[in-house]
């Protein structure tokens, strides 16, 4: 019974991961690749991890699996958001068949958002030393 | 398996040296890092590798019940990795500072200290 559950979960999980892989390979622009991969992979990994939890079938493993899933759910979207934003600022073009771009012109030519405050010293002002 | 790993280690050594032989500061550091990885893997390989048997004594047991992989090379590599990290961090900063002060990135232009004065 456990074996079958594990097998099913793992299969589903790897399938979603495969999906993400195909996505990143096929999609025509950076944003699409990102949009496709984050979730598919997250779901896939979640399923595989659950499979492992089922397989080991003890409290400490389960809590660890839960922890990993929570971490991934927390970090994956944040990461995707960061790269997405960064690549938009870096000037990566949208796919030519895109229908709209509400962000167009929201960032200055220099790339920094209008009025955005400085954090970890974005510009590298080399001191003249 | 070992033969592939050995080739990989050779590749790391070769790539490391090749990068060090370039004229760019950044490549130099990357080369050093690759070499370090090669050396660590070499210790690992020559300490003999085993699959699926981490050197952790199972719960409830006082010693290993089945095969285990050699913990000593692992400990050595761990030490080596951490030390390399320290050195690499310093190297990265050194390069940054050197680049800033010497105002060139071409290693070939950094040869004033070898000239006679």
């Amino acid at each position: 019974m456990i074996s079958i559950t594990v097998a099913v979960l793992a299969s589903l999980g790897s399938l979603f991961i495969l999906l993400a892989a195909v996505g990143i390979l096929r999609m025509p622009d950076t944003y699409l690749r990102m949009a496709v991969t984050t979730k598919a992979a997250t779901l896939g990994i979640g399923l595989i991890l659950i499979a492992a939890a089922v397989y080991f079938h003890d409290l400490s493993t389960t809590t660890r699996v839960v922890a990993i899933i929570v971490f991934i759910l927390l970090t994956a979207p944040v990461g995707a958001h960061l790269i997405g934003k960064a690549s938009y600022i870096a000037g990566n073009k949208l796919w030519e068949r895109s229908v709209m771009d509400d962000l167009k012109g929201k960032y200055r030519k220099t790339g920094r958002k209008v009025g955005a405050p400085r954090n970890m010293k974005e510009s590298s002002d080399e001191d003249a030393g | 398996m070992e033969i592939l790993l050995a080739l990989m280690i050779g590749t790391l050594y070769a790539a490391g040296i090749y990068m060090i032989l370039r004229r760019s500061l950044v490549k130099l550091i990357i080369g050093i890092i690759l070499l370090g990885n090669g050396a660590n893997l070499l210790i690992f390989l020559l300490g003999r590798i085993a699959k699926g048997h981490p050197p952790i004594i199972p719960e409830g047991a006082e010693t290993f019940l089945e095969a285990y992989s050699d913990p000593l090379p692992q400990a050595l590599i761990l030490t080596a990795i951490v030390i390399s990290f320290g050195l690499q961090s310093f190297a990265i900063i050194l390069v940054k500072r050197a680049h800033k002060v010497v105002k060139t990135d071409d290693l070939d232009e950094m040869n004033a200290t070898d000239e006679y004065s």
Partner: protein, 90 residues
């Protein structure tokens, strides 16, 4: 077919294939963002591989590594995007 065989002959190959595809994207780029996305995904798949491997070898210890990967891999992504943005700002 035992569970182990199933994992070994079906699941791991699928994951490996995915890794190869993602790696191809990594090599191909074309932008640095694509590469970073690819690396991010590689790490994620790596977590899956480790999870499967831990079942294969009956070593739940390996899940701890998966945990670390999940936590820290993220930071790499943050750093890269930080850099991509910073470079643009220069």
């Amino acid at each position: 077919m035992t569970l182990n065989e199933f994992l070994y002959f079906i699941i791991l190959p699928v994951l490996s294939l995915s890794i190869l595809m993602v790696f191809f994207r990594f090599v191909k780029g074309p932008t640095i963002s694509d590469r970073v996305v690819a690396v991010d995904l590689l790490v994620t798949i790596g977590i899956g591989v480790i999870a499967v491997y831990s079942i294969l070898t009956h070593q739940h210890t390996f899940l701890d590594i998966a945990l670390i990967l999940a936590l820290i891999g993220f930071l790499g992504t943050v750093a890269y995007s930080f850099y991509i943005q910073k470079r643009k700002n220069k």
